[in-house]
Assembly symmetry: C2
Homo-oligomer: 530 residues x 2
């Protein structure tokens, strides 16, 4: 397909600005041919107005219409075939196998939201029927359910060009909620973004949804994102990326005349604790698997294990030696772009400047024709970690840091000092159970997902998934960006008082025509209201 | 009971500051004898640390312990007897009958949250069991549920000295969630606040809950509230009050190094639309009931109908005449305090300065020994309302404004121009149905609760209640401050991956020992996981 480098405003290509950028092949550091056009304020305004108009039409639509849109979008993405995979690989160097898997996850989650809509109980219908004889005053009939918020701005991430990008989890869940989406494409994979945007445009058309239900804007500057978040017709923001970027958008949204929610998933250290029994029994395999997890996708996962806590005992030196060897031996991969390369260099340099940190392997910049960074294992002490918040900086790339504690108490204090994070993992054997239980209890306050004898990379897209966590992991710890409950971010409750059955939305009608689960006078039921 | 004017820091009276204030009797404008002490930064810090310690202990407690606390709190408030009612009446002039009802609502909602805890399904347990044979990789066992956020700051409102104050809905729902509470008492009823705080202290002690689970701080300055919201150990804020106050706290919380959610319920205009059929058939009774609703509690309800939309036709003059008469004839009540008196004077004066508004009755300051304002009916045109956002200012007091539209289309445009609000009401007869349905659809985007042929004052405390709405009605339109789902504001999800059953929280164990409703592999069920 010939790419145009355009923005897509409600289905229409638009390239008003001469300012723009090209995609860069991370394998060669060379720029592509296509010029992508930064969106202008006028283009963003048209996208927002079209989204608002589309919302007015679609908010009355049956859930099946949205479900069909999601299914069609999945099929249109699949119909892009190998061209999509090759384009994404050219822009990200993530490799065809990984990208094939990620495409499956992306289409799978679009279809999973379609199923959620068809099942229908996600609207959280709650009904309390009238009590006309209640004293001193009758009780009114009150019924509530969830409705969409309105147009949503979605900021793509660089590290998942499908699953956290144009048709990723934010778009899928916002669409499922009934919200039009304006995607700010990540400048790291603009060609991939254009292909997916064209697929979504076709899905919008095929599903007879108003074209403003989807727009794509490009931008290599912060202004494009800021303009989008400041637009008065935008009602919510989804974001995956760095702490700096997420916090800047959060601040902008909070300073609007009408503040709006920003669901930003940002940096994370993903602590992993290896307790003595596990180190003794499984030290070798943990070292291998941990090195694999820390370098997976060149360490460019939000859930990469970035901090490894150990108690320094007789079994520790061999585990560290093995881990150091594994990190050193594994081929260092390609980084996504120059920004990430410079970021990991800066972050590791800053950490090594703290006197308490040494590099067991890596910490150096290999001179490759591709963007890269050496697999790096840092080491510090529990004492230093407890005292120095700077050691909680994320190193986005193939870098992890050992925190060597002198005692179980010091380990506990180090865990207590942790900032918010997406995940926390414990490796433990039978002999470690009491300590493991106590640490998990502490970690529950720090993380969105707790993992037992496993690794944080690999996020199941299931109903029960929680991909979120206390700040700075996210700006909204009550929400998730992965899994079915991600839809809740884009919904809000409305109650109806004494409304005639004919005027009630289907989900609240006495007959319960959709057969959804509801809470009626306190009881969970699929039955009609009699 | 002899009052001390102290703050209560984790159960202990504390009066470190000489700065403070007295309560003022709104009937006489005279100050009381007791000096209430503004909390110092050191007192606030002690309260926050004690709350954090209490949280560490209580977050492992069984739901029954919290339920017992809530029940005991209700009983202790009742045990205060008439002294509580008389003290509150002295400080608010709301009258014994209203205060008796409000006390019942307050104890009722404490007990309703206890029931919610005992039933247990509010934790939203979702379980997806492992699929070890899934290709290309096994699916992990993932289970999630909701856990408390941590210490919560609650800001009392002046207009509900029980139900939105020390032991009001924010405290009840935060406690039910498992969060310690620090209440910033409203300076309008400090003696009432001290009585209730003592009752809560007794409940905390009787239920063997750590004393830091509740603190009360006084403050007649904005500094006290700002210091509290800035404290790093505070995890969320509940607020009921003015737009200015709520927004200031929201801004402070958003600017923290670690931002926290602010659930602020603020100003609201509560539009009420009278369609032509209703005006014709029930004009008189609507005029009577509307005047009663607009002046109930001297108009000092968040849900007071502040804007009344009419289409100007043959039946309109008699309805307006009747409404004007009803407003003029009703005895004007006592306002809560000088701040509210000055506020309503300022707001009505500013509105009348817009050329398009006239006063049909009131708009004048009666010279009474008590705080007061004349029952006031303002009138403007649909055209002016559409063009002038300033006409959406709330007039907190016995004031409502007619918006006279020249056509159904102008009415639609006026409704479309509305800002966010807690409630919206339509009065309609059979002949109005098509228009009513279209307007309700528009109003759904503006309000948290839609009312059919009723009045917005009077908020049922039921599971299905939604007391919230788009900004400026609240800072968090996805949440409610009244009803059982208010608890969700103070909870966040945590997922567990491959956790041994013995380490899982009760709500997620295979056996489902509490018999709660869960979603297991997509199905709603109370069954155990087999």
């Amino acid at each position: 397909m010939r790419l145009t480098g355009s923005n897509f405003i409600a289905g229409t290509a638009s390239s008003e600005s001469a300012q723009g950028f090209t995609s860069v092949n991370p394998q060669t550091r060379r720029s592509g041919d296509v010029q992508f056009h930064n969106a202008t304020a006028a283009e963003i305004d048209r996208a927002a107005r079209a989204a608002s108009e589309a919302f007015q039409i679609m908010r009355g639509a049956a859930p099946e219409k949205l479900a069909a849109l999601l299914d069609t979008a999945a099929a249109e993405i699949e119909a892009l075939g190998d061209e999509l995979l090759h384009t994404a690989d050219m822009e990200t160097a993530l490799g065809i196998p990984r990208l094939t898997g990620e495409r499956g996850r992306t289409t799978g989650q679009l279809r999973a939201f379609a199923s959620l809509l068809r099942e229908g109980s996600y609207v959280e219908a709650i009904i309390d029927t009238a009590l006309p004889d209640r004293q001193p005053a009758p009780r009114q009939d009150i019924r509530r359910m969830l409705f969409p918020l309105g147009p949503v701005a979605v900021f793509s991430a660089s590290n998942f060009p499908f699953a956290f990008s144009v048709a990723g989890g934010d778009t899928a869940s916002a669409w499922a909620a009934g919200c039009p989406v304006i995607v700010k494409a990540h400048p790291g994979h603009p060609a991939t973004s254009e292909l997916v945007a064209r697929a979504l445009n076709r899905a919008v058309e095929a599903a007879s949804v108003p074209p403003g239900f989807f727009s794509l804007v490009h931008g290599s500057t912060v202004e494009v994102g800021q303009t989008l978040v400041q637009h008065p017709l935008i009602e919510a923001v989804g974001f995956t990326g760095s702490l700096g970027g997420g916090r800047a958008l959060y601040n902008t949204a909070a300073a609007r005349p009408k503040p709006i929610p920003v669901y930003a998933e940002m940096g994370s250290t993903n602590p992993l604790v290896i307790l003595p029994g596990a180190a003794r029994v499984r030290g070798e395999s943990i070292a291998e698997d941990l090195a694999a997890s820390a370098t997976l996708g060149t360490g460019q996962f939000c859930t990469k294990p970035g901090l490894v806590f150990l108690i320094n005992d007789a079994d520790t030196p061999s585990l560290i030696e093995r881990l150091t060897g594994e990190m050193a031996l594994r081929q260092s991969g390609v980084l996504l772009n120059e920004h990430i390369e410079q970021g990991v260099i800066r972050a590791v340099t800053a950490t090594l400047e703290r006197g308490s940190v040494s590099a067991l392997t890596g910490g150096t910049i290999p001179s490759h024709s591709h963007y890269s960074y050496a697999n790096t294992l840092l080491q510090t002490t529990g004492e230093a970690f407890i005292q120095d918040e700077a050691l909680q900086q994320e190193h986005f790339g193939p870098v992890t840091m050992l925190v060597l504690c002198q005692s179980p108490d010091e380990l506990t204090d180090a865990v207590r000092a942790l900032h918010g994070t997406l995940t926390a993992t414990i490796h433990a054997e039978e002999s470690d159970l009491p300590q493991a239980e106590a640490l998990f209890s502490l970690l529950r306050e720090k993380a969105g997902r707790l993992i037992w004898n496993g690794y944080p990379t690999g996020v199941e897209v299931v109903y029960s998934m929680q991909h979120g966590g206390p700040y700075p992991a996210t700006t909204a710890p009550g929400t998730t960006s992965v899994g079915m409950t991600a839809i809740k971010r884009f919904l809000r409750p409305v109650a109806f008082q004494n409304m005639p059955d004919a005027l009630l939305p289907e989900a609240l009608k006495n007959a319960n025509p959709r057969g959804i689960w509801r809470i009626v006078n306190g009881a969970h039921t699929q039955a009609a209201v009699s």
